[in-house]
């Protein structure tokens, strides 16, 4: 196990470097630059701005300067938000998205797995069809539909909750973002759990357990749940990173100040350093949680060894 983790860490460094390189090249290949504006400024003015941000240097030099700074933990100044560095932008926005994401993830696990197991146990009966109908509805309700609907219902019509803001993460401000974030994931997880649980319940070892007369709830909880969770974990590993790094929709609809908006705006504004900084963050988190998933496999399935 220990050597497995060391191996993973060693592979992570070149992976992140490759990620930086590819993103860097792609970004500079996109037409326009961070300072392309509707109001075209005179050349001398543009030269001064570019010199200030090192954009006047050859591309390979910019690349090495950037990688050198990243190695020291400096992600550079934001080109769009001139009063901030990328480190500051990530420090202020990522905790908010992670906070919403962590709660969403908790709901996804509890409700997604719970409803999936329920549906599997009552296969083809009313609880199953209810859960599956709800899940299908949830899947087709992406957050860009869900978020405005929630606001319309709870903020505009009923006036129970504020329509947006963060205010230190107070409950009334984060309820709707969490629901909007979690819904489609809950639906997905419920569907995956259900089919995987049904399959597991048909396996020979479950039949053996039933033949021994073990109570049904014990069979489900003690024997069936662990193997049934393997596909769920495969799905949730990568999804987890997506959940905690937020969503542009959530940030825009609820003004949460999360990191999701920066990812999309960074690309639209050609904010090279911001988009690279977030790519690196998401890359590292993905590598980290893929490793976590692999470790979880060894626990869920004793046949897996590293």
């Amino acid at each position: 196990m220990f050597s497995f983790i060391i191996r993973r860490l060693l592979v992570a460094v070149p992976t992140v470097l490759a990620l930086i390189t590819v993103s860097f090249v792609l970004m500079h290949a996109a037409p326009g630059g961070p300072f392309t504006n509707e109001r075209n400024v005179p050349e001398a003015v543009m030269e001064n701005i570019e010199a200030k941000y090192n954009l006047d240097k050859p591309l390979w030099q910019q690349y090495f300067i950037y990688v050198g700074n990243v190695a020291q933990g400096d992600l550079g100044p934001s080109f769009r938000y001139k009063d901030f560095t990328v480190n500051e932008l990530i420090e202020s926005s990522f905790p908010r998205s992670a906070y919403i994401g962590a709660w969403s993830f908790l709901f996804v696990m509890v409700f997604g797995v719970g409803l999936g197991v329920l549906a599997a146990l009552k296969q083809n009966r009313w609880p199953d069809s209810t859960v599956m109908t709800a899940a299908m509805t949830g899947v087709v309700f992406p957050n860009f539909v869900m978020a405005p609907l929630l606001v319309l219902l709870f903020a505009v019509t009923l006036r129970w909750l504020p329509a947006g803001g963060w205010e230190g993460g107070q409950v009334e401000y984060i309820v709707m973002p969490i629901i909007a974030m979690a819904t489609s994931y809950i639906a997905q997880v419920a569907r995956i759990t259900r089919s995987s649980m049904i399959e597991t319940l048909r396996s020979p070892f479950i039949r053996t357990a039933r033949a021994k007369g073990i109570p049904r709830y014990k069979i489900v909880l003690r024997h069936a749940l662990k193997p049934a969770l393997i596909p769920v974990v495969s799905y949730l590993g990568p999804a987890f990173v997506g959940i905690i790094t937020g969503s542009v929709i959530i940030d825009q609809v609820f003004s949460t100040g999360g990191i999701g908006q920066h990812f999309v705006n960074g690309a639209i504004n050609r904010d090279y350093s911001l988009i690279l900084g977030i790519t690196i963050l998401v890359g590292i988190l993905t590598i980290m949680f893929n490793a976590v998933v692999d470790i979880l496999y060894t626990w869920l399935d004793p046949r897996v060894r590293y």
Partner: protein
């Protein structure tokens, strides 16, 4: 990773009961959540701070006025104005701001020599009076002596000198450096090009309260230009003490009616009354909260839920409904902005003026403004909007024709240019991806198709790609919007001079250039402007579509919103919130 192993041991030790498994499932959940939170462990302390600041906003002082000192209206107990503000500003540094959202905040935080009055006319602000030399090459501004920075120190002419020098300083790298140059301030061009030090800029303090500006090109409208934030003073003390971080709450020193209180990127920016401001005892709004909401429909929902006093815009798709449901709250202020299509005159078929004329004639502008934009925009047949202060607005002859007459003339022009049913006009119309631009492009291209038999391809590009194509002259016909930087016709007409950096269509006319050059120093530039417009009516470098309006929703409780300010400059200190 050791965490995981420990978790496993705990689970195993619980033994073979069913609840052990249940706990292990919970264990996984708790573990992953813990990891997620551990990844952002720094948040702990920060969040407490956030709450305190949020609480501070809520604890905004009770309003000082129970009723309005002049009108006697009953005022709300909390004078906290919440404004929708489209997006996060590029910067709060007056010399670095480059967008309307930043400008909206900066004009509350800072005060320049002049300001834009309720009707958009230039009024004195920190300058109580100004005189120009006979040749308009030297301007002297006399400053008020009661201007104060938010740290209590006095605002002097030296602060203006410092600010203007920053604007052109290559090291500061301001986008609006060209603004100082276009005002004709002596040596601005050389300083931007790095040929002279910024100390040589043609602006100096004769004493603490007298600012002298020397120009190398005469200009009659310098006071109008000083309304713009690029020409605001800058607080040397704060900039030298904090460097690039000087625009943060706590560091920033400003001289306007408000000072920066809190700034949570993507959530809100809060400004509080500046106790040192010279008219602070008359300022009614205590706190201003700017909420950056990029999606117009999300902003509308925030407004409908009662959390905003005013929006920055209104989704075009909702105009019809809002006109019915909230007619009293819908404000459609004229704006000094023109929506048009630019022809690339160096590329066939647009090198033929008859083609440009035909296409310009055939646009049915009434349909566009009544059924698509719906914001009481005015059909445009010329470049400079009528709302521009002091401008002698006239219209070309074809503006007085009926649309069928224009269509007939358009068909004749096109026939003369050699296009027939067998040889139809073919071209591409380029616009940047956006719902309203798309609607317009579809409808107008359909007009050309039906009336002129033209075969028009419309294509959209993502914003920056669109801009780089357009600026490289890589287009036939492209959407173009232009908003005036200052309230004087030259801000529009210089767009099409040969040396303009924004004349993407490449049209050039020596007489036109000469007229605008002469207008700069003329006591009454209007005859030059009228003549320049007349040239445009013959040459059609652009096809004007409509003069814009700024559409917003304004709460009935919010009073003092400048509905007639065509520059759309809104000073929070001029407004107040009534009790009901």
């Amino acid at each position: 990773m050791t965490l995981i192993n420990q978790q496993r041991k705990i689970v195993q030790r619980r033994g073979p009961s069913g609840s052990g498994i249940r706990h292990s499932v919970q264990g996984v959940v708790v573990l992953l959540v813990t990891l997620a939170l551990a990844a952002c462990s720094e948040e702990g302390e920060k969040k407490a701070g956030d709450e305190a600041l949020a609480a501070a906003d809520i604890r905004a002082p009770e309003a000082r006025f129970q009723e309005h000192p002049e009108s006697g209206e009953r005022l709300a107990r909390k004078q906290v104005l919440v404004r929708g503000n489209a997006s996060e500003p590029a910067s709060l540094d007056p010399q670095l701001v480059e967008d309307t959202v930043g400008g909206a905040i900066v004009v509350d935080l800072f005060e320049g020599l002049t300001r834009s009055g309720p009707d958009g006319d230039t009024e004195p602000a920190l300058a109580k009076s100004w005189v120009s030399s006979d040749n308009n090459l030297t301007w002297t501004f006399h400053l008020r002596e009661d201007g104060r920075w938010s740290d209590g120190t006095g605002v002097t002419a030296h602060d203006f000198v410092y600010g203007w020098r920053r604007a052109v300083d290559p090291k500061v790298g301001s986008n609006y450096a060209y603004y100082i140059e276009s005002a004709g301030v002596a040596n601005a061009g050389e300083i931007i090009a790095g040929e002279k030090p910024s100390e040589t800029l043609g602006v100096r303090a004769l004493d603490d309260f007298t600012l002298e500006v020397s120009l190398d090109q005469p200009i009659t409208y310098l006071p109008d230009m000083t309304v713009h934030y690029t020409m605001f003073p800058a607080p040397r003390q704060a900039i030298e003490a904090h460097g690039a971080d000087w625009t943060r709450p706590g560091n920033m020193v400003s001289n306007g009616a408000y000072l920066l209180h809190t700034w949570h990127l993507g959530e809100k920016l809060v400004a509080a009354r500046n106790p040192f401001y010279r008219e602070d005892d008359q300022t009614i709004i205590d706190r201003v909260v700017y909420v950056p909401i990029e999606s117009a429909s999300a902003e509308l929902q925030r407004y409908a839920s009662g959390e905003l006093h005013m929006t920055s815009t209104v989704p075009v798709s909702q105009m019809a409904r809002l006109k019915k449901e909230r007619p009293a709250e819908l404000v459609m202020a004229p704006s000094i902005a023109t929506y048009m299509y630019t022809f690339n005159v160096n590329r066939p078929p647009f090198d033929d003026v008859r083609v440009r004329r035909a296409l310009t004639y055939a646009i049915d502008r009434n349909i566009v403004v009544s059924y698509i934009t719906r914001g009481e925009q005015m059909p445009a047949f010329s470049l400079t909007p009528p709302y521009v202060s002091g401008f002698d607005f006239r219209q070309p002859e074809y503006a007085t024709w009926s649309q069928p007459e224009r269509d007939e003339a358009a068909r004749q022009e096109l026939r003369k240019a050699g296009y027939t049913d067998d040889n139809p006009l073919e071209f591409e119309l380029l616009y940047n991806t956006d719902e309203s631009h798309k609607a317009l492009a579809i409808v107008i291209s359909q007009m050309w198709k039906e009336k002129l038999g033209a075969s028009v391809t419309i294509s959209n590009l993502e914003w920056k790609t669109f801009l780089s194509q357009k600026q490289a002259g890589n287009f036939g016909m492209a959407r173009h919007g232009w908003k005036g930087d200052y309230n004087e016709a030259s801000t529009f007409l210089t767009l099409l001079t040969s040396d303009s950096g924004n004349n993407d269509g490449g049209w050039s006319n020596p007489e036109y250039d000469q007229l605008l050059l002469e207008a700069r120093s003329s006591k009454d530039p209007n005859p030059y402007y009228v003549r320049a417009e007349e040239i445009l009516w013959q040459e059609f470098p652009v096809a004007p579509v409509y003069f814009n309006t700024t559409v917003a929703l304004v709460s009935p409780m919010l009073k003092g919103y400048p509905e007639n300010n065509a520059r759309n400059i809104i000073y929070s200190k001029d407004m107040y919130i009534t009790a009901d």
